[in-house]
Amino acid sequence: MATVNAPVPADPRMDTRIAEETGASTPASPKRGGLGGSVWWRHALGILALMWALFPILFIYSAATNPSGTLNTASLWPSGFSTKNFTDLFTDSSRPFWTWYKNSMIISLSGALGAVFIGACAAFAFSRLRFKGRRGGMMFLLLTTFFPALLAIVALYIIFAGIGDVLPALGLNTVTGLILAYLGGALGANVWLLKGYFDTVPRELDEAAIVDGASHVRIFFTMTLRLVMPILVTVFMLVFVGLYGEFMLASVFLTDVDNQTLGVGLYGMTLGNDANTLFGRFTAGALLGSIPVMLLYLAFQRQLVGGLTTGSVK
């Protein structure tokens, strides 16, 4: 046990602390010293990190603006600027780029909105309501995400072929059918993320609203949904990005070139001999295709950071 007369530890940092607390300035301290120097090395390493993060993107840009448009002539630094790859991309009638773009936007937007709504409803139940099988239900949702969904593709294909026989508008080779198939995975991991965030909203707010005579529907739609907006944005973006880039299920489902998504279409440009000759067009399409997601990220990155972390902590 420490006694009152214990010697002051002979630690140089103690001097720093005393100096700080008394307002005196001392030159060297591991935490505070070397103000300019400390930030300088952080910038240096930061630029190194940026180079690592951005060089493939620079390569994509260079390849997209490369006049000859093949893989073996692509270089890291742009070798002249040409819009040839872009015009080639737009005028190729066997590869309707803008139709793919539209399909991708429709599928990703409606899929993500549907997933957010379904997930938010379920998360509200798991977070706010008490019922039998609540814990079990959450664990079960987690378990479903462990099944390699890819290998259920054959089963999904058979199921949707059957649906298409009865309801052609929802069967294979339709955008709506694919959206439905995607909504099947709307619960699962999303609910965990959502529930974590819902739990951080104080229950006292609900109780106060109940005292004021609000029904659970009213609490959910007018209060809870507003308070958890960051996580809704986060989940929306995660699902949107996931669906936007998904191509395995989409390529099995969508066989008509006019129904295909950007993912399926662009992937088709990288098969066989096309891989080399169409590389410029592929990167041009990829660059344009990245714009919606990048805009979303830049617009919502604050909510994304908040949503991902708070949702996972609890």
């Binding site: 591991p30 935490k31 400390s38 930030v39 952080r42 930061g46 940026l50 690592w52 993060a53 493939p56 993107i57 390569f59 994509i60 390849a63 893989l71 270089s75 890291l76 379904i118 409803c121 139940a125 309501l129 987690l142 479903t144 462990f146 969904a149 890819l150 290998l151 259920a152 054959v154 089963a155 999904l156 199921i159 026989d165 009865v166 309801l167 909504l183 995975g185 709307a186 619960l187 699962g188 659970h216 009213r218 959910f220 936007y244 880039g245 395995m248 662009l266 992937y267 891989a275 592929f282 990829a286 990245s290 997601v293 990155q301 950071v305 991902l308 972390t309 996972s312 902590v313 609890k314």
Partner: protein, 514 residues
């Protein structure tokens, strides 16, 4: 004030949903699928009970998700699992009855010395030309007219029938003749049509305007459960064996059309007893775990270090750094994976060119694995960076100050204060990342397709994960074997679940301590 409106919206939605279900049920009933009609009815009643009464509040919020999950996630998974106990795959796609029908239909040969019919494709009057059942309007060379459908051949009264000079019927009362374009669009249905004739043969279309009378050379004897092919002399007899029709006299001969049947746990026992598969499976499994662990570790470490780097209140331009650093995460996944594949090209890829190397990245075991890990590091670190940044911000400043006051240096603070708190926060995400990477099909498929294939067993690539291996079993190769692939996916599921659940338990415990 809002109450009546809310109530109205609620009832409109309930009625609309029920109407939709009713409509689907009538379509199902038309298709003759009784089980599905019953299920649709039960779902409709369930929705009415849940939403029209005040009971079961939790279900009101869970039902939308549960319906989609059951239909499009659980059902496919259960279906897949049930297929794992069958031989479903190439040559074993249909039922035994369908294999018999198909073999007989394929054996139809034109009966010598029978006349060809002139044929027009039609539907019953008023039928939708794209979906209605097709009938064939036939003219014999002697000018007599017939109408044939799948029930049989009937004479067509000549009154009101109009024909072209060669005898092709263009108009018949009670029927709508399809145009060539409409008929062509139905060619799939047309090829499936065979009008049965009284002597056991059938009339089949040839092209769009002619039909021949043919007879099957293969007959099925249901009592003896044998097929007899009379086109050979002497007639060949086939009997069922291992879900195929095998020649009794020469067991190496069989029809390509087999059927699907239950094989019990044979697919599972094959994984563990077949020595090539077992050793390959073990090798894949070890690399799979190494890949998942290394991916999580490298992305987390890099993400955390960068997050720590920018976790300094004095640093300017943090938001610019952050926006640029998450760009790799914003690009569509398949784009970046394919671009990395181009960059790893040995001859003209920019990695070898820029660094002056001559590494055969995608052609050697070590190179392919390194390429995969490097690509995954690039793809995954922005996510970890975002997560760590958020978690670091949520660590209260006073905890750090307390550590400094207690005399901890920067490294000690990091190791004993920041790291534990950070791990509690991101632990579940690390596990989710592990589970995701364990089955990271897209990366392997786009980058190496599991290759290079230079081991002893050429069906197993040196960068294969279990999932890419199962995928190749299921969908490619000379004989896709979906039943076996389904068994492998059930095993993958069990492995991931077994490895992840203790981890989740642990993080839960950690949280409670926190």
């Amino acid at each position: 004030m809002t109450k009546p409106i809310a109530l109205a919206i609620k009832w409109v939605l309930i009625v609309a949903t029920l109407a939709g279900i009713l409509w689907i049920a009538t379509r199902l009933a038309q298709a003759g699928n009784t089980t599905a009609v019953v299920i649709a009815g039960l779902v409709g009643m369930g929705i009415l009970v849940v939403y029209a009464t005040r009971r079961s509040v939790p279900l009101k919020y869970l039902v939308p998700g549960l319906i989609f999950m059951t239909l499009f996630q659980l059902w496919p998974v259960i279906y897949t699992a049930s297929l794992s106990t069958t031989n479903y795959g190439d040559g074993h796609l249909y039922s035994k009855q369908e294999s018999v029908t198909d073999i007989i239909a394929q054996s139809v040969r034109e009966v010598p010395d029978t006349p060809r019919y002139k044929m027009s494709v039609a539907t019953a009057e008023g039928g939708d030309p794209t979906t209605a059942d097709l009938v064939l309007l036939l003219t014999k060379p002697d000018g007599s007219t017939y109408v044939g459908d799948k029930t049989g051949l009937k004479p067509l009264p000549a009154t009101g029938v109009e024909k072209t000079p060669i005898g092709k019927i263009t108009k018949a009362p009670g029927y709508t003749v399809l145009t060539a374009k409409q008929a062509n669009a139905r060619s799939k249905d047309l090829s499936a049509i065979a009008v049965p004739t009284s002597d056991g043969g059938g009339i089949k279309p040839v092209g769009l305007s002619e039909a021949f009378e043919g007879k099957a050379t293969v007959t099925y004897d249901p009592a003896a459960d044998k097929l007899t092919d009379t086109s050979t002399t002497p007639a060949t007899v086939y009997e069922p064996k291992d879900a195929r029709w095998v020649n009794v006299a020469d067991s190496s001969q069989s029809f390509p059309q087999g059927w699907k049947e239950g094989v019990g746990l044979a697919n599972y026992s094959r994984i563990f007893t077949d020595s090539t598969i077992r050793s390959g499976f073990l090798g894949i499994f070890i690399w799979n775990i190494a890949f998942a662990v290394l991916s999580v570790l490298t992305t987390f470490l890099l993400g955390m270090l960068i997050a720590l780097l920018f976790n300094d209140p004095r640093l300017r331009g943090k938001s610019i750094y952050r926006s640029l650093l998450i760009l790799p995460y914003a690009l569509p996944f398949f784009v970046t994976a394919l671009v990395w594949k181009g960059m790893f090209n040995q001859d003209y890829g920019i990695i070898n060119q820029t660094l002056g190397l001559d590494v055969d990245w995608l052609g050697t075991t070590g190179g392919a694995r390194a390429a995969i890990l490097i690509t995954n590091l690039w793809l995954g670190f922005p996510y970890m960076f975002i997560v760590c940044t958020g978690a670091l911000q949520s660590i209260p400043q006073d905890v750090r100050e307390a550590a400094i006051i207690d005399g901890a240096n920067a490294f000690r603070t990091l190791r004993s204060i920041i790291m534990p708190l950070l791990l509690v926060a991101v632990g579940p995400l690390l596990l989710a990342s592990f589970a995701f990477n364990f089955n990271n099909f897209g990366l392997i498929y786009l980058l190496t397709k599991g290759g290079p294939f230079n081991g002893a067993d050429t069906s197993i690539g040196s960068s294969d994960l279990l999932i890419t291996y199962a995928y190749r079993l299921a969908f490619s190769g000379s004989a896709p074997n979906y039943g076996f692939a389904a068994a492998v996916s059930v095993i993958i599921f069990l492995l991931v679940a077994l490895m992840s659940i203790p981890g989740f338990r642990r993080t839960k415990a950690l949280e409670e301590v926190n």
